[in-house]
C-alpha cells in the first residue's frame, strides 16, 4: 500500500478552498475509485487521467487505486483537478518524487493525449492558494500570464503530461515560454468617443454627472436619439480601476472563462445583456454551484439595460437588492455563494411602444392603455433607485449644424478631478462616491445653502423624503464638478432638474 498527495483548489463562487488529492494504491482487484463528492465532470476525470497517462506511455497502477478529495464533505465540481489527480497517482506509484506534488497547487485539465488544457477561474483559485500559504503553483502553460498576476507565487507552466513529470522532478521545462508569447490578437482598445454624440449637450452633461458621482442613470426618448450611443460611452469617462478593484474584476472575469492574457483588467467593464436575459444570466445561477451573472461581470463597471421595459419584471426586480448592497448572494441546495456586484446601472427606454410619444412633430399611434401598460413594466421602487432621469429629445439644430461635443478625454479629466474631491471628503468612510453615501451619512456632511428650494418641493408633493437624499447626493456631485466645497442653490436647482421623472409624466 503506497500513498501520495497533491493539492488543488475548489472554488465556491469567489472563495477558494484548498483540496488535498490523496491517492492510495494496493489491496484489491485493479480498479480506480474516486471519492469525495465529485460532480459528473470531475468523476469523469478518472477516465480522462487514465487515458492521458497511457497516452504519455506510462502505466496506470494495476491494483486497487483509491483517489480521495479532502475535505470529503465539500461538494467539488469542474475539470481542473486532473493535474492534481495525475500527480498524486504518479507519486504514489513511484514515477515521480512526492515532495513537489505535495507542496504545490495544481490546476489544469488533461486531454486524452496528455495535453494540458486551460480551465476557468485560475486567478481566484491561486489567490486562495497564496492566502493559504502555498509558494508554488503549476498551471496550464497558456495561463501562466494569468497566474502570474498573483504576486508572491512561483508559477510553473506545463503544456503536456511529459512537462508535468519533468516539473514534478524539479527539472525546468519550456512550458513557461508560452508566457512570452504575445497575447492573442486583441483589437486595439476601441473606445467610442463622446465627441461622436451630436446635438445632445444636456444628455452628455447628465452622463458626465453620472460618471463623476457613480449615479445610476435612466435615459428615455424616441428611437434613434442616441440613448445606446451615450451608454456605450460611459465606461470611457470612468477612471482606471485601482489595484484591489482590478484584482476583483479580473477574478470574476477569470471565473466566467475570459482570458486574462493582457494582465489585470484595468478599465471598468461594460455589460449589456439582451432583454430576453434569464434570471440566472442576470444575477448568476446554475444547477449545483451558481456562476456569476451579468451584474457581477459589470462589477466596478457599467451595466446597460437597453429597452428596459422589455426585460421580465422578475429579472428587473432581482436587481433591487444588489443595487443596495453591491453584492449578490445566491443560495443553492449544495452551497451558497456570494459574488460582488457593485455596478453602475444605465437603463434606456422608449416613451411608448411605438416610440413617438411626446416627440415634437411626430404622431404616436399607441392607445393610452398600451402606453400605460408599457410604463408600468418598470416598477416604482426600481425607478426610485435611479438618481438621474434624463429625457432625450431629438436635436433641434440639424445634425450637420450641431457642434461636436467635447471629447471623452476632456470629460474624463473633469470626472477624475471630481472623484478626487469626493475621495478627499469621504476619507475615513467605506464609501468612495457620492452615489454610494447612505442618507444618514449624507446629513453629517456640511449643510447645503438654499434648502428652502427642496422644502418647497417636499411641501408641494413633488419630492419624497428619500428623494431629498437623492437630490442632495446629485448636488454634491455637481458641486464637485464645479470645484465647490459647499452645495448652494444653483446645484440644488440643477439636481432637481436631473431627477425630474419625465417617464411617468409621459403616460
Amino acid at each position: 500500500m503506497s500513498t501520495a498527495s497533491a493539492w488543488s483548489v475548489a472554488l465556491l463562487g469567489m472563495e477558494g478552498t484548498l483540496i488535498e488529492v490523496e491517492a492510495a494504491i494496493g489491496g484489491g482487484l485493479p480498479r480506480t475509485v474516486l471519492v469525495g463528492l465529485p460532480d459528473a465532470a470531475l468523476y469523469e476525470a478518472r477516465d480522462r487521467c487514465r487515458a492521458a497517462v497511457a497516452g504519455a506511455g506510462l502505466s496506470w497502477p494495476n491494483q486497487l487505486l483509491t483517489i480521495n478529495l479532502t475535505p470529503a464533505s465539500l461538494p467539488k465540481a469542474g475539470s481542473h483537478y486532473d493535474l492534481a489527480i495525475v500527480s498524486a497517482v504518479l507519486a504514489a506509484s513511484g514515477v515521480v518524487p512526492h515532495a513537489i506534488a505535495a507542496s504545490s497547487v495544481l490546476v489544469g485539465e488533461l486531454g486524452l493525449d496528455g495535453r494540458v488544457r486551460e480551465v476557468q477561474g485560475v486567478l481566484p483559485a491561486l489567490l486562495a492558494a497564496r492566502d493559504a500559504g502555498f509558494e508554488a503553483a503549476i498551471v496550464p502553460a497558456r495561463q501562466v500570464a494569468e497566474a502570474e498576476l498573483v504576486a508572491g507565487l512561483r508559477v510553473l507552466g506545463v503544456s503536456c503530461l511529459a512537462d508535468l513529470i519533468e516539473v514534478l522532478h524539479g527539472r525546468p521545462v519550456l512550458g513557461g515560454a508560452y508566457a512570452n508569447e504575445p497575447p492573442t490578437v486583441q483589437p486595439p482598445d476601441y473606445a467610442p468617443d463622446l465627441a461622436d454624440v451630436r446635438g445632445q449637450p444636456d444628455a452628455c452633461w447628465a452622463l458626465e454627472v453620472a460618471a463623476a458621482g457613480g449615479h445610476h442613470l435612466f435615459l428615455h426618448g424616441a428611437p434613434g436619439v442616441g440613448k445606446s450611443m451615450l451608454a456605450e460611452r460611459l465606461p470611457g469617462l470612468l477612471p482606471d480601476l485601482n489595484n484591489a478593484e482590478a484584482l476583483e474584476v479580473s477574478a470574476i472575469h477569470s471565473l466566467v472563462g475570459r482570458p486574462l492574457n493582457g494582465g489585470l483588467i484595468r478599465r471598468p467593464p461594460y455589460s449589456n445583456p439582451h432583454h430576453n436575459a434569464s434570471m440566472a444570466a442576470m444575477v448568476g445561477g446554475g444547477a449545483r454551484v451558481a456562476r456569476p451573472g451579468a451584474i457581477s461581470i459589470a462589477h466596478r463597471g457599467v451595466l446597460f439595460l437597453d429597452e428596459v421595459p422589455e426585460f421580465s419584471a422578475r429579472v428587473l426586480d432581482a436587481l433591487r437588492t444588489p443595487l443596495e448592497t453591491g453584492k449578490v448572494t445566491i443560495a443553492r441546495s449544495a452551497s451558497q455563494v456570494c459574488y460582488p456586484a457593485r455596478f453602475q446601472l444605465v437603463m434606456a427606454a422608449n416613451p411608448c411602444p411605438c416610440g413617438m410619444l411626446g416627440v415634437p412633430g411626430a404622431n404616436c399611434t399607441c392607445t393610452p392603455m398600451s402606453v400605460r401598460r408599457y410604463n408600468e413594466r418598470l416598477s416604482g421602487p426600481m425607478l426610485d433607485r435611479v438618481d438621474i432621469h434624463h429625457r432625450l429629445l431629438p436635436s433641434r439644430l440639424g445634425l450637420a449644424d450641431a457642434p461636436a461635443g467635447e471629447s471623452s478625454k476632456k470629460v474624463a479629466e473633469r470626472v477624475r478631478l471630481a472623484r478626487e474631491r469626493q475621495a478627499e471628503r469621504l476619507m475615513g468612510t467605506p464609501w468612495q462616491l457620492n452615489g454610494e453615501i447612505p442618507g444618514a451619512e449624507l446629513r453629517r456632511l456640511p449643510r447645503a445653502r438654499g434648502m428652502s428650494l427642496l422644502d418647497d418641493a417636499v411641501r408641494s408633493g413633488r419630492l419624497s423624503a428619500r428623494g431629498v437624499d437623492k437630490v442632495l447626493r446629485l448636488a454634491w456631485t455637481l458641486a464637485d464638478l464645479d470645484g465647490k466645497d459647499r452645495i448652494t442653490r444653483v446645484q440644488l436647482a440643477s439636481a432637481l432638474g436631473l431627477r425630474h421623472d419625465g417617464w411617468r409624466c409621459a403616460a
Binding site: G28, L29, N62, Q63
Partner: protein, 130 residues
Amino acid sequence: MADLNLAPIGSKGLGAWGEKYAADYLVGLGWMVVERNWRCSVGEADLVCLEPGPGELPTGVVVEVKCRSGSGFGDPLEAITYAKQRKLRQIAAVWRQVSGLGLSGLRVDAVGILKLPGVAPLVRHVRGVA
C-alpha cells in the same frame, strides 16, 4: 512445473496452461490443491485449495485464474467483474457445503498471469477479492 517454453498458442490452451501454472505457484506457497475445474450448479471454480492456518484447521480458498498473452485488453485481473465476484462467492459457499471439510475460514482469491512471448510469466496474486 509447467514448461515455460511450451506455453501454448490459442486462448483455450493458454487458459489451461495458466491454471496449471497457478496451481504450481500455490503449491509452492505450501498450499494444497484439492480440486481443479470444480463444477456445481452455480458455475465452475478454476482451483480450490487449502491454505494452512491460521489455527489447526486450514482455510478454504476458491481461486480464479486469469491468464493473458498481452496487455492489450488491460490487466488480466481487470477481467474479474462484479458479476464474476458474486458468482465466485456463491461457488465457494456451495463447495464448502458439498465438501463437508472442517475449515477455519473461506476466501476467494484471484491469480493473474501475464505471459508475454519470450519473457517469464508475471504472476499477481490478490487475496480476498470477493
